[in-house]
């Protein structure tokens, strides 16, 4: 078997070139590929198109790559509160393509599953529908939407094995499984890399066929955006 295991994030992302199209897993700061983002900050690769539900915050996640001006375009559903993002957008330094979250998820899923286009009701009658083909099925109007694929998909899982099989934890799953399938090269960073055979085949979330490189990440910060608690 060709070895999928690489030693660290630097090795995993070293051939990501300027102007590459990337997918980055995560919802908010939950389940984001922290190690890969750090490594991309080091390589200094520029002109990136980043497909990610969110754009991080000012000082974490994709927000860090915005600060270093490595991102040319964001394709997201919600870019939240991020002052640097806002500044670049208003200054015309950043292209932004906003997509309904379910459409984004399904376009990525379609990219991995070989479905070049599909119909969804989301956005009908809104500016999202502008320029898109509209079709009626069973009395309801739908937009045609195209698949999304990426040169590299950067995903974060809880556990992974050396064959590339992945298991996510909690709501850190989110966009990661579809992105893993939609990347021409998928790089998985995991909290725990285990030998093949240790994960139960019945509970694999991402089969290894989708993963080309895998490594055990380090120093996960897992920052929390809204720490809400129930008082004792």
């Amino acid at each position: 078997m060709i070895n999928k295991v690489v030693s660290n994030a630097e090795e995993a992302v070293k051939d990501i070139k300027d102007n590459a199209v990337l997918m980055l897993g995560g919802f908010g700061l939950c389940g984001i590929p922290e190690n890969c983002i750090s490594a991309l900050l080091k390589t200094g690769v520029k002109g990136l198109t980043c497909i990610s539900n969110n754009a991080g915050v000012d000082d974490f996640g994709i927000g860090l790559m915005l600060k270093t001006r490595q991102v040319k375009k964001m394709i997201s559903s919600y870019v939240g509160e991020n002052a640097e993002f806002e500044r670049q957008l208003l200054a015309g330094e950043l292209e932004v393509d906003l997509i309904p979250q379910g459409t984004l998820a399904e376009r990525i899923r379609a990219g991995g599953a070989g479905i070049p286009a599909f119909f969804t009701p989301a956005g009908y009658g809104t500016e999202v529908a502008e320029g898109k083909e509209i079709r009626e099925f069973h009395g309801k109007k739908y937009l045609m939407e195209a698949w999304l694929q990426a040169d590299f998909a950067l995903v974060k899982a809880w556990k992974g094995d050396t064959a590339g099989n992945l298991i996510y934890k909690g709501t850190a799953r989110n966009f990661n499984p579809m992105m893993a399938a939609a990347g021409k090269i998928t790089i998985a960073e995991v909290e725990e890399l285990v030998p093949v055979g240790e994960l139960d085949p019945n509970y694999i979330h991402t089969p290894g066929i989708y993963v080309q490189r895998i490594f055990e990440g380090k120093n996960y910060e897992k920052r929390i955006e809204q720490r809400t608690v129930t008082p004792r």
């Binding site: 939950c30 919600y78 906003l98 309904p100 009701p121």
Partner: protein, 220 residues
């Protein structure tokens, strides 16, 4: 007297049917969960991949890998299930989520909703709102009847970029409960305690339909 946010949440909680699957938007809708009667059991969906949202965790149980769509740390319940965002919006688009409760900046008399963008100001993105309003069989909006500057937010036509068309079934505002009729128009169902029909008329720019006596809301 106009309802406060909690009052609106309490009134909407009365709309919730036993055994239903519900998606709650950020803000007032999230509060609804606190006022669902004890004899009613529902399952809350979080579009980032969870069915069965529980309470906020105790400090020592906070888990960065378990958040709701508002990015708040949460817990799971017995019977919860986790899944991907594609599965989550499959549930939504496929009509498996029975009720969506969300906030709005404007609602039109034919049920259009605007709640995602104010041109010229910061654009944050629509998140899952467009999928939700295009898909759920029942959509209830929680909102203030008027803007801070006193202008009606229940309009003939939305002035802001819309999120979805002909989708809102009911509006619960600080002043009233209104049904959006299939043929168009806000049908006044209930008044907030102490609020007169005249006040609601004055606050509603869209077509308001008033038939017979309009009862006051009953809120504990």
């Amino acid at each position: 007297m106009a309802l406060d946010k909690i009052g609106i949440a309490k009134r909407i909680a009365q709309e919730v049917k036993d055994g239903s699957y519900i998606n709650l938007g950020i803000g007032i809708p999230t509060l609804v969960a606190n006022y669902i009667p004890d004899n009613i059991e529902v399952v809350l969906q979080s579009e980032n991949g969870l069915l069965g949202i529980g309470r906020f965790p105790y400090e020592e149980d906070v888990d960065a890998d378990l958040i709701n769509a508002g990015k708040q740390t949460i817990t799971m319940l017995k019977g919860s299930a986790l899944f991907s965002s594609a599965e989550s919006f499959g549930m939504i688009r496929g009509g498996h989520v029975h009720l969506t409760i969300l906030g709005a900046m404007e609602v039109s008399e034919n049920g259009d909703i605007a709640n995602w963008k104010i041109p010229g100001k910061m654009v944050k993105g629509m998140g899952g709102a467009m999928d939700l309003v295009a898909s759920a069989e029942n959509i209830i909006v929680a909102m203030q009847h008027k803007s801070r500057s006193g202008e009606s937010k229940l309009l003939k036509e939305c002035t802001l970029p819309i999120t979805g068309i002909k989708c809102v079934k009911k509006v619960v505002s600080d002043l009233a409960v209104l049904e959006v009729l299939p043929e168009g128009g806000f049908k006044l169902l209930e008044r907030a305690p102490g609020v007169s029909v005249e006040e609601i008329k004055e606050a509603t720019a869209g077509k308001l339909i008033i038939k017979g006596d309009i009862p006051e809301m009953k809120i504990d």
